[in-house]
C-alpha cells in the first residue's frame, strides 16, 4: 500500500484477487488463525467475491481491485499463485516480472523500478514509542 500511496500520481495500480493460498480446508497457517483470517477455499464465485470484499473492508484497502473468476484465467495467464507482482508498460509489454511468492516476492524491486523512472520517495523513520522515563 505504501508503494500505491507514493506513486499513484505517476502509475496505475490494480490488485487481482486469485484463489486462496492458505484456506482452512487446505494448508492453513497458524498465522491465519492468530490474525482471524480463516476462510475455506471458495467453491463458487459468490464465495470468492465475499472474501475479497471482506479483505477490502477489514484492511481498508484503497488500491483498485479486480477478482479472478472461477476459471482462474488471470491466475493461469500470469502464474500468479500465491502472490506475484508485474509492471506493464504503456505499450502493453511486461516491464517488470516479479518472482513467485512468498520467498521470491519482493515489492521493493517494483518500488525500485518506479523509483528509477519517477524518483525515490523517502519517508521519515517511525517515531520511537513514548516512554514516561523520557519526561
Amino acid at each position: 500500500m505504501q508503494i500505491y500511496n507514493d506513486y499513484k500520481d505517476h502509475a496505475d495500480f490494480l490488485t487481482v484477487y486469485v484463489r486462496e493460498a492458505h484456506p482452512t480446508d487446505e494448508w492453513q497457517m497458524k498465522s491465519n488463525v492468530k490474525e482471524d483470517v480463516c476462510y475455506a477455499q471458495p467453491k463458487t464465485l459468490e464465495q470468492r467475491i465475499a472474501i475479497a470484499n471482506d479483505f477490502v473492508q477489514r484492511q481498508k484497502y484503497p488500491v483498485p481491485f479486480g477478482i479472478d473468476d472461477m476459471t482462474n484465467a488471470a491466475n493461469d495467464a500470469y502464474s500468479a499463485w500465491p502472490e506475484r507482482i508485474y509492471i506493464i508498460d504503456e505499450q502493453g509489454k511486461i516491464a517488470y516480472a516479479g518472482g513467485m511468492g512468498p520467498f521470491n516476492y519482493h515489492p521493493e524491486e517494483a518500488r525500485a523500478w518506479l523509483a528509477a523512472r519517477y524518483g525515490e520517495v523517502k519517508h521519515d523513520p517511525p517515531m520511537p514509542p513514548y516512554r514516561e522515563s523520557d519526561g
Binding site: H10, V18, I67, S79
Partner: protein, 88 residues
C-alpha cells in the same frame, strides 16, 4: 543387498521428510505444502519485453467485468503495477 538398498532409501526418505518439515515449519506444514501448494506453484514464463496477457476480471460488487488490458493507460503514458494475491 536388497536390504541395504531399502535401508538407504528409508534413510533418504526420512531425511527428506525431516528437511521438508524444517523448511515448512512442521510435518503438518510440509504435508500441506506438498499436497496443496506444489500443484499450483508455477515458476512463470513471462519476462520483460513479453506482451502482457489479457484476462477478464470482476469488480468487487461482482456485477461488472473488465479486462486487465482496459487498465493499461496507453494514451496517458502511465505504467500499470499489477499485484496478484489473496487474503489467507
Amino acid at each position: 543387498m536388497w536390504i541395504w538398498i531399502a535401508a538407504v532409501l528409508a534413510v533418504l526418505l526420512i531425511a527428506a521428510v525431516v528437511g521438508l518439515s524444517v523448511m515448512a515449519g512442521s510435518p503438518k506444514d510440509a504435508y500441506g505444502m506438498l499436497r496443496y501448494a506444489l500443484p499450483h506453484m508455477h515458476r512463470g514464463k513471462l519476462k520483460p519485453g513479453d506482451a502482457a496477457p489479457d484476462a477478464s476480471l470482476l469488480t468487487l460488487n461482482g456485477q461488472e467485468r473488465f479486462h486487465i488490458h482496459d487498465r493499461i493507460n496507453r494514451a496517458g503514458g502511465r505504467p500499470l503495477m499489477v499485484v496478484f494475491g489473496s487474503y489467507t
